[in-house]
Amino acid sequence: MQPSTGNAAPYRWDADPILLVEHLFMRFGGLVAVNDLSFNVGRGDITALIGPNGAGKTTVFNCITGFYKPSEGRLVLGHGRAPTPEEVATVTAHGERALVGSDAAVYLLERMPDYRVSGEAKVARTFQNIRLFTGMTVLENLMVAQHNALMSASGYSLKGLFGLPGWRAAQRTATEKAQYWLDKVGLTDRADDPAGDLPYGAQRRLEIARAMCSDPILLCLDEPAAGLNPRESLELNTLLRAIRAEHNTSILLIEHDMSVVMEISDHVVVLDYGTKIADGTPEAVRNDPRVIAAYLGVDEDAVEEVEAEIEAEIATGAQS
């Protein structure tokens, strides 16, 4: 939406995207929840998807993570480097769900069931209403997240049943990884407590740690700051920055808390009624009149009025 200013380098989400959302539609009966949505997520970026309530943000998430099958559209995920148009065209034409090379891989997420999106394409997610295994301990939650790796290490239970050394080593490695993440989110002391006993903020952090234990390259967070106090919000910002910096993981998040969004995101996409109304850097989006109108609840005519006013202002500004 925002014209890129002059000759500066193109944005990262255009130059090196990890995820391309192309003409995504999602219809429920007569209702169109997502309407022709296209945007890119840059590799190594923190991308925020914002919009008023009911704008279709969570539906987009559910499409990306395979929980919903989009009515139309393509979701291209590139491992290693940005997928080339030729690769994408090849996979699409052959009706396959992925093209895996030695240094790079292309996945068409809309063709994959949810557990493959997470297990093979390595897109992890959290949920708006936290979905922890409350009756299992914190450590167990993190072990479940490493299911696929441990499953093959346990020889699909056969090696594990007889306690062979290979399995034990794998179990140890998995525990170490869990400990690392427990340390990162500050829950080491609560490792043996049931997840349901943790306070709300800690449950949010645990859910992020659990998602990270599945080694994602793209982490989708559905309102991670919801219900957090200001201090916890700050800690969350630090944690997300650390994840991006140290783990080669790009982050896509839905958030209502504008302080979090403006503070940490590199790229903001704004949805309203299932359509994209703005896409750009936080500064650009913040000043976009359509975004302001959408958030303040001004109707369509009013937006045009505001736009006209702004244009007039710019024009007068240019004259003077």
Partner: protein, 305 residues
């Protein structure tokens, strides 16, 4: 052709009975999302209540008019069956709202076993035969000695079913109770915030379902002339199949499903094998749930993430 018409009549009769039971399943499922596994046994109890009442009226009180007796039996059976169902909901299901997912189902299975065995202990395991009640038939066609008949009791069953369904339809579509019921189906918490007595509405749903099952019980007793403690399980599963086939939660669906199951069972027995008629019903249940879980008239469910 003759056999076909005769089986069609028999199938529609049987289907009416299944449809009446199926409404109980579908309504309860609609309002609290639970399979009331004990409903088939509630139906079975109603045949016993009807039987006892009928014997009291004819042998002890000496009522000779069969239609008067049947009318009284119908009212008495509806009352006591509804009371039973009300009590079951109160004792075995209501405390479990908000418990874990499988709890109401397990409780309902326990209740089903409890009811069947209670009747077995109280009334004995033997078949209880009643003398034939309404025996007149109308001969519709006659061809080479094969008569296609329509028994008066079959007419009675279909008419009673149709009248009750009409009344019931009115109740659910046009009255405050029906509105409350549909509101609870949509969103129980919101309904209670708007001043609907949710507990009472759910209780009434169980009562109405049981009353219709009692009607089915009286019709069943009249049609087959036998009551047995084990006769709740299989008709119950078939009626549930009917509810699922029609689309669970949908009232016209339950009736449609009931008629279909009745027809399938009768035609299967007539043309294929009578030994495997229950296998056919169970297979339809499995196939419907696997391939058409929303049924014929139901709406598909969207998983909430």
């Amino acid at each position: 052709m003759d056999v076909f018409v005769q089986q069609l009549i028999n199938g529609l009769t049987l289907g009416s009975i299944y449809g009446l039971i199926a409404i109980g399943y579908t309504m309860v499922f609609g309002i609290i999302g639970m399979v009331n596994f004990a409903h088939g046994d509630v139906f079975m109890m109603s045949t016993f209540i009807a039987l006892i009442c009928f014997l009291l009226l004819t042998t002890v009180l000496g009522i000779t008019s069969i239609f008067l007796a049947l009318a009284i039996v119908l009212v008495v059976a509806m009352f006591f069956t509804s009371l039973t169902s009300w009590a079951i909901e109160r004792v075995a299901y209501r405390p479990l709202r908000g418990s874990f997912r499988l709890a109401p189902m397990i409780s309902a299975i326990g209740m089903s076993i409890l009811l069947a065995n209670f009747v077995q202990v109280a009334q004995g395991p033997r078949n209880k035969p009643v003398p034939p009640m309404v025996t007149d038939v109308i001969v519709l066609m006659e061809n080479n000695g094969y008569q296609v008949t329509l028994a008066w009791k079959q007419v009675l069953i279909m008419v009673v079913t149709a009248v009750l369904l009409a009344g019931f339809w009115y109740l659910v579509q046009k009255t405050a109770l029906g509105r409350a019921q549909r509101a609870c189906e949509q969103d129980r918490k919101m309904a209670s915030l708007l001043g609907i007595n949710v507990d009472q509405t759910i209780s009434l749903t169980f009562v109405i379902g049981a009353a219709l099952a009692a009607v089915a019980g009286v019709m069943y007793l009249m049609y087959y002339g036998v009551a047995n403690f084990a006769d709740g399980f299989v008709p119950g599963v078939k009626a549930f199949t009917a509810a699922v086939l029609g689309g669970i939660g949908s009232l016209p669906g339950a009736v449609l499903g009931g008629l279909l199951i009745g027809l399938i069972e009768v035609f299967w027995s007539a043309y294929f094998s009578i030994e495997y008629k229950d296998v056919a019903a169970f297979s339809i249940l499995a196939i419907t749930l696997i391939f058409l879980p929303q049924g014929l008239l139901g709406r598909p469910e969207v998983e909430k993430v």
